[in-house]
């Protein structure tokens, strides 16, 4: 589970600061896809960056996990936040952001080689999941291909598998269908929903496209950095 409590994020703008996220409360439950939508510049991507621990909010809490396992990501240093992303947060970017030198299989394996203090056993665990995940996203026959040899939809599938290979508590997804046509966009949305349910991940998904509304379990609308509507 991810629980954003009273999160505020501002950015410098000349002599002043503009508020991108304004006292937002948002909860993403395990096994559910929580959509975040809103007009351009509403602050939805900023909110996602806070949830992904890529930026620290000015105030508020970003609680990840439950019970004794809960951690406030907003209070972590950048080094500890990186460790948290390595272990408990998966990220799927708007563009697939795959590394051009790596094959599809290696895009997932890289998660076991990002540094830190992973034990050999932890690495082996990640490596054992790679083939299952490639199979789950329908790319087991494309595992040896590099990004330029894959279609846009296939690249996004690899990115989704990479986001899940370390079995994160939370998956943050930034407009995954923006570079895809309607049909492939629908496939990707259904894939994310299926994997979220199967793996009991708390998924936060930013989208401006409500065509795929049926794949979302919750939908939060943000305008000017504030939550204006929440539909369960």
């Amino acid at each position: 589970m991810i629980d954003l409590r009273d999160v505020t994020l501002t950015f410098p703008d000349g002599d002043q600061r503009i508020t991108a996220v304004d006292h937002v409360n948002l909860r993403g439950l395990d096994g559910q896809v929580t959509g975040i939508t809103g007009p351009s510049g509403s602050g939805k991507s900023s909110l996602l960056a806070v949830a992904a621990t890529l930026i620290r909010p000015d105030s508020g809490h970003v609680l990840i996990g439950e019970g004794a396992d809960v951690i406030d990501a907003a209070a972590l240093s950048s080094t500890n936040a990186a460790a948290l992303r390595r272990e408990r947060i998966g990220i799927v970017f708007q563009q697939s952001n795959l590394l051009p030198a790596l094959t599809a299989r290696e895009q997932l394996l890289v998660m076991a080689h990002l540094g830190g203090r992973q034990s050999r056993a932890e690495r082996t665990t990640i490596e054992s999941r790679v083939d299952d995940l490639l199979d789950a996203v329908g790319l087991s026959t494309q595992a040896h291909k590099r990004p330029h040899q894959l279609s846009g939809g296939q690249r996004q599938r690899v990115a989704i598998a990479r986001g899940l290979v370390h079995s994160p508590d939370v998956l943050v997804v930034d407009e995954p269908t923006s570079a895809l046509d309607q049909e492939r966009g629908a496939e990707i949305m259904r894939l994310i929903a299926r994997l979220t349910h199967e793996r009991n991940t708390a998924t936060l998904l930013v989208t401006h496209d409500l065509v795929h509304r049926d794949t979302l379990d919750d939908l939060v609308t943000i305008v000017d950095g504030r939550v204006v509507a929440s539909i369960g």
């Binding site: 991507s45 970017f93 030198a101």
Partner: protein, 363 residues
């Protein structure tokens, strides 16, 4: 190194190119180092082989001491020999002249060293070992014997007088001419025949005298054999220009490798941001970047060294070329260190990459 190895394979054309540049620079540096070593040996091996812990040269009223102009009068020699703490003092005469084998018109430039024969108390020494015992004999260094095509028993003509070759010994050179030894008496006569004073030009001294006090009293300078090489004009100018070339090549190497890795790292700045966003530690990314540079440098320098060894073996037959760890491995190590330092300039892109940019749509 997970990503680094795969990038090396994926962008092999670019890495082969920079590796080839590193190899070529290694060849240049190695070849120049070998040549410098060879030329230096042909300049100074005779001086470095002299006995004594310090070499005493005349201190001129203006300027620095010089092997070419130094003359040590008998009172200065006597003062050094009698100075408290001196355990051994060997007067040596050095002059350059020309010699020919009897019956052969071709003259060969030689360095005449006037040295006494080694005593039973003398430390083993290549120059003293070559010294003849009779005034009508000479000892030839290997280089002199080869240039004159002379053997033991042959007769040589040196400034109008004939000498018999008594021995052929170590390969000793002075200012690019092979060394030939004579007795001090024979050398003094030869020196006078060529317009010299006949006085010894250098004194090789061992012991623990008050070096400065004796040197001041005798208008001389006492320096270690290495330090005294600056009194050899040909060596000073030669080593200065060659050393400058080697230093410039080292600088170019560092700049080329640094520029390559700076551009390469900037090209993959977005990949680095993605890796950071996924949770990569800065340390692991730095390891990857430096590891890549080390692989390229190791392969490039390795190939270059093999080429240097090949060229050096061939060139050594026609050129003064020294193929040794000092002229190959040492420059290679310096190149690797400077190359890594150059690659280190690119690390700012790695350490300052903002993972937040991975979320943008500008990729």
């Amino acid at each position: 190194m997970f990503v680094a190895w795969r990038e090396l394979r994926f962008a092999r054309g670019r890495f082969v190119l920079i590796g080839a540049v590193v190899a070529l620079i290694t060849v240049l540096v190695g070849f120049l180092s070998g040549l410098t070593g060879g030329l230096a040996a042909q300049n100074i091996s005779g001086v470095l082989a002299l006995p004594g812990t310090r070499l005493v040269l005349q201190q001129p009223d203006d300027g620095s001491p010089s092997f070419a102009t130094s003359t040590l009068p008998s009172d200065a020699l006597a003062t050094w020999e009698a100075a408290p703490g001196v355990t051994e003092a060997t007067p040596v005469g050095i002059t350059q002249s020309r010699a020919s084998r009897a019956g052969v018109d071709d003259l060969t430039g030689v360095a005449l060293f006037g040295v006494p024969t080694a005593t039973s108390e003398s430390e083993p020494n290549d120059v003293l070992a070559l010294a003849p015992s009779r005034d009508d004999e000479v000892g030839l260094s290997a280089g002199a014997a080869a240039k004159l095509d002379a053997r033991v028993g042959d007769t040589l003509s040196i400034v109008g007088k004939d000498y018999t070759v008594a021995s052929v010994g170590a390969d000793l050179w002075y200012s690019h001419t092979p060394v030939m030894t004579m007795t001090p008496t024979a050398w003094s006569a030869a020196s006078q025949r060529t317009g010299g004073t006949g006085d010894p030009t250098v004194m090789a001294v061992s012991g623990t005298p008050d070096w400065d006090a004796v040197a001041t009293a005798t208008h001389t300078q006492a320096a270690t054999p290495l330090a005294s090489l600056t009194a050899l004009e040909a060596f000073r100018s030669e080593i200065g220009s060659l050393g400058l070339m080697i230093a410039l090549l080292f600088g170019i190497s560092a700049l080329v490798v640094g520029a390559f890795f700076t551009v390469w790292t900037m090209q993959r700045a977005s990949d680095i941001a993605v890796l950071k966003a996924l949770g990569a530690t800065t340390a692991s990314l730095v390891r990857d970047a430096l590891g890549q540079a080390l692989v390229v440098l190791t392969v490039g320098i390795g190939v270059g060294l093999v080429a240097v060894a090949g060229f050096g073996t061939l060139a050594g037959r026609a050129l003064p070329f020294v193929l040794s760890p000092l002229t190959t491995l040492a420059p290679a190590a310096v190149m690797a260190v400077l190359g890594l330092a150059g690659a280190g300039f690119a690390l700012r892109t790695v350490t300052h990459a903002d993972p937040l940019t991975a979320l943008g749509s500008n990729r």
